[in-house]
Symmetry: C2
């Protein structure tokens, strides 16, 4: 009897932006579950710490990605952010404060630059799919995490490359866009994600202990708390 | 009597993509004539030769730009182009061949990546203007030199940054878009550009002598010939 593979989804190639954080790791698990063969792209962009890059390397291995590239880009040289410059990372901000305005940790044009590289790599790989773990619910006020930004980038991308001029259609996938942090965590756990591998903190210690107090730590801890789950990450400070 | 400065244009800040070639140098001269204070951005992107970067440094000095940043980005690592990989640069192509299709020297998503960096720097500088010397007449078939690509990038850029979310309007200036190579050269000479400083060739010798035969050399030589002018660049081969 000839074996059939009707229940197996065809393998397609996707470029995925992998930061080493909770969101991009969940996005990777979702892309994999959807049958994509993943080419992961991580940036060493002048951020304060290399811990999240070490995490990205371990996650890429655990996820079985086809290839993982770490690209050096010196955004810090152009300045303008608490994540790359010498402005301190804000800590212990109240919910209302976190939800208003754009924080100091915003990095000018970061997602535009990351997606531009992903677009170039996608074309080289003949891939029509890019995954990015942006989120418009618990999105920390970054303009380049909004649905209208992603839609405009996709429109531009479809005019930018040889592949699209020759008739291919590029899609930017944002499976987390309308999920809460709690829903993201629940989705990831259902897909077997080990969140102990992920790094979320904007300002971890040299050995990778999360501060527990920056906006990113607060959003993550709230997500686990709302889901009634224990966060496997080690924290320097107790829950606020 | 109080001196007035009604005839002096107010100085505005612009980020300009400067390759060291004829087009970006002419664009710089036009931006300067229009009263902009120029912050020039050049990329070492894995291209075969560093001669054009040396040219960019000399041009930036000659043009009196406020600041010149040279950013290292390794596009060659992602592959896919004769300008960064090991595909040979095509030579002595006929006009009809040059005008059809997208050449091997196309670098995937190059202008998208360059403009993304320019956008980030513009935001840090609080600049609302970006200049790029793309051209849709003698444009060598690159998809990311077309007016529709530039327009889509500008739309995206105006959704991407803190500055634009807060009400600023970013403009991508393409003053060469509808000029022929001859018109570009004539415009530059009228503004005092020294084209002896510029590098156009895709495949120059180690000491910066242009090959004279690649698409870029052919377009440049035709531009000078049509203008009835002598090209100050040194060439390895005689005019075809």
């Amino acid at each position: 009897m000839v074996e059939t593979s009707v229940n197996r989804k065809p393998e397609r190639t996707a470029v995925l932006l992998l930061s080493g954080g909770l969101d991009s790791t969940t996005t990777a698990a979702m892309a994999r579950a959807d049958g994509y063969s993943i080419f992961a792209l991580t940036f060493r962009y002048g951020q304060r710490h290399s811990h999240e890059i070490d995490c990205a390397v371990r996650i890429a291995a655990a996820m079985g990605v086809k290839r993982h590239e770490i690209i050096d880009i010196d955004l810090g040289r152009l300045g303008g952010s608490a994540l790359t410059g010498d402005i301190p990372v804000p800590k212990n901000r109240a919910n209302a404060e976190m939800e208003s305005g754009i924080p100091l940790t915003y990095v000018p044009a970061r997602n535009t630059i990351f997606l531009a590289y992903a677009l170039g790599w996608a074309e080289v790989l003949n891939a029509n799919d890019i995954f990015i773990g942006v989120n418009a619910v618990d999105y920390s006020g970054y303009p380049d995490c909004r649905p209208e930004f992603i839609a405009a980038f996709e429109t531009m991308a479809n005019l930018a490359t040889r592949a699209t001029v020759q008739g291919q259609r590029l899609t930017i996938h944002t499976p987390l866009l309308h999920l809460s942090k709690q829903q993201i965590i629940e989705r990831g756990l259902a897909l077997g994600v080990d969140y102990g591998l992920t790094s979320t903190c904007y300002d971890p210690s040299a050995n990778g202990i999360a501060c527990g107090a920056c906006d990113a730590c607060q959003l993550r801890r709230k997500g686990f708390r709302n889901a009634g789950l224990t966060d496997p990450a080690p924290y320097a400070s107790n829950e606020a």
